[in-house]
């Protein structure tokens, strides 16, 4: 049994590089099941609770698909209005109850630290599907899986990250993970949305990480990871308006890019990648989005103690 059995996955920093390697190799084995070409019942009779206090399309539906593809069932809610939290119930109480109904809980919540709180009160494993601007570890795992599928390795690559580095939780988790594998990180963002000092400090102890100009990043990187400016994370409208639409990757930006360079995006996209990029050889964001299913299948299967060897 893996040491991830029955474990919470709250932050990518909770995982060792060995844990990540295991999840990625198990994900690889489940691709044909994720595509619907093979059926498995590893999690038959098991129930996943999805507690989404904030809107989500890809993350929630890919977790649900992952559970169904492995023969399990799903209960849950997709907005807090339909739960007792709207009557004043605390998150701790909601989680205590959900943990008695299910075998694992996936939580998304607008407040940072909410997933850790949930894990403190749940008898069952808790998987963080995004807590405020903090962490989104399963997105990071599918990002790593995408890179590994494309390049066959994680080592000796340069990853450029563009966009809202201050509030974007996916880029915080991703930077921690990339640095864990010694992958060089190039950053480009509006000056008011730079990477938080905590994240920079951690990454600098493990890899090279530098702010660079956008054009240089696109020329140098093997992977260009673009993020959306998330209106919902800004404390005030004025701050959001000052940076909204401040960068956009178009086909003309890609002239000097390496031929093997891939563009990733956690989606949803607004206007930070022009649609004329979608049909280039560089675009991988829709494939990346699909990889959420096999990766979340692997995570659920390992955490719930399904058949790891497949």
């Amino acid at each position: 049994m893996s040491n991830l059995f029955n474990r919470d996955i709250i932050s990518i920093k909770d995982l060792s590089s060995g844990d990540i390697d295991l999840i990625l190799s198990e994900s690889e084995k489940l691709i044909d099941v994720a595509e619907g070409n093979r059926k498995l019942n590893y999690l038959s009779g098991r129930i996943l609770a999805t507690a989404f206090f904030e809107p989500s399309t890809r993350t929630r539906l890919s977790f649900e698909t992952a559970m169904h593809r492995l023969g399990g069932s799903v209960i849950g809610f997709a907005e807090s209005k339909s739960t007792s939290t709207s009557k004043g119930e605390t998150l701790a109480d909601t989680i205590r109850v959900l943990s008695t109904y299910s075998d694992a809980i996936v939580i998304r919540h607008p407040n940072e630290g909410s997933a850790r709180l949930a894990a403190d009160y749940s008898d069952k494993p808790v998987i963080n599907a995004g807590d405020g601007a903090s962490q989104h570890p399963t997105q990071t795992l599918l990002d790593l899986f995408t890179i590994k599928r494309e390049f066959g390795k994680l080592e000796n690559l340069k990853v450029g990250i563009i966009g809202d580095l201050k509030y974007g939780r996916t880029v915080h988790s991703l930077s921690y993970a990339l640095s864990m594998f010694g992958i060089e990180i190039l950053l480009s963002s509006p000056s008011s949305l730079t990477m938080p000092p905590d994240v920079m400090e951690y990454c600098k102890t493990k890899t090279k990480i530098n702010d660079v100009k956008l054009d240089y990043l696109i020329e140098e990187a093997d992977v260009v990871y673009v993020t959306r400016i998330q209106k919902e994370r800004f404390p005030d409208e004025e701050e959001y308006q000052s940076v909204s639409g401040s960068y956009k990757i178009t086909r003309s930006h890609l002239i000097k890019a390496k031929s093997h360079m891939i563009i990733m995006h956690p989606l949803p996209r607004v206007d930070e990648i022009s649609t004329d990029v979608d049909n280039t050889l560089h675009a991988r964001y829709f494939r990346q989005s699909f990889y959420g299913v096999p990766v979340r299948m692997a995570i659920l299967n390992i955490v719930l103690g399904g058949d790891v060897d497949g």
Binding site: S11, T90, N111, E112, R116, L117, G132, S134, D198
Partner: protein, 155 residues
């Protein structure tokens, strides 16, 4: 605690907090909740010459023995402080303060969007001590480092 200080203001029962870095006595009084409503007699000595610290502050509180939670709070401000519990004018117990690995309900997370700052959750903040010198702590929930933790102490 040397005898000279007992000669100045000996107390019969209570607590003497010694080896407070000079200038911190009033902050420590605030942390342990000694204010104008306090009924105990409290003596404060400021800038007392000290071989160990150069100069130090001393607090003497009559008829009150501090509990472990209060000692933890003092450790945040004065990691080398010593606590003397006095009973019948004698030092009954001498303790060094020590900062535990985790503290609950003492330091607030500075991230306003952290779940621990949401009143509806009716919860106490919980911090992890990462290093003691220099003092570096982070929020157990949102993982953020707390800058100048002494300024985030709950009173």
């Amino acid at each position: 605690m040397d005898n000279e200080h007992f000669k100045v203001t000996p107390i019969k029962n209570g607590t003497v907090i010694d080896h407070i870095p000079a200038g911190n006595a009033f902050r420590i009084l605030k942390i342990i909740g000694i204010d104008e409503d306090c009924k105990s007699t409290v003596s404060i000595l400021i800038n007392v010459p000290s071989r160990q610290l150069g100069s130090k502050d001393i607090i003497k509180i009559e008829d009150r023995e501090l509990d472990d939670n209060e000692l933890n709070k003092i450790a945040l401000m004065a990691s080398d402080a010593t606590i003397n519990i006095i009973r019948d004018k004698n030092v009954y117990e001498k303790k060094k303060v020590s900062l535990p690995d985790e503290l609950t309900g003492i330091i607030r997370c500075q991230n306003t969007n952290c779940i621990s700052n949401k009143k509806d959750e009716k919860m106490l903040p919980h911090i992890i001590v990462e290093t003691r010198s220099p003092l570096r702590v982070k929020c157990h929930y949102c993982d953020r480092t707390i800058i100048n933790p002494q300024d985030a102490i709950l009173f």
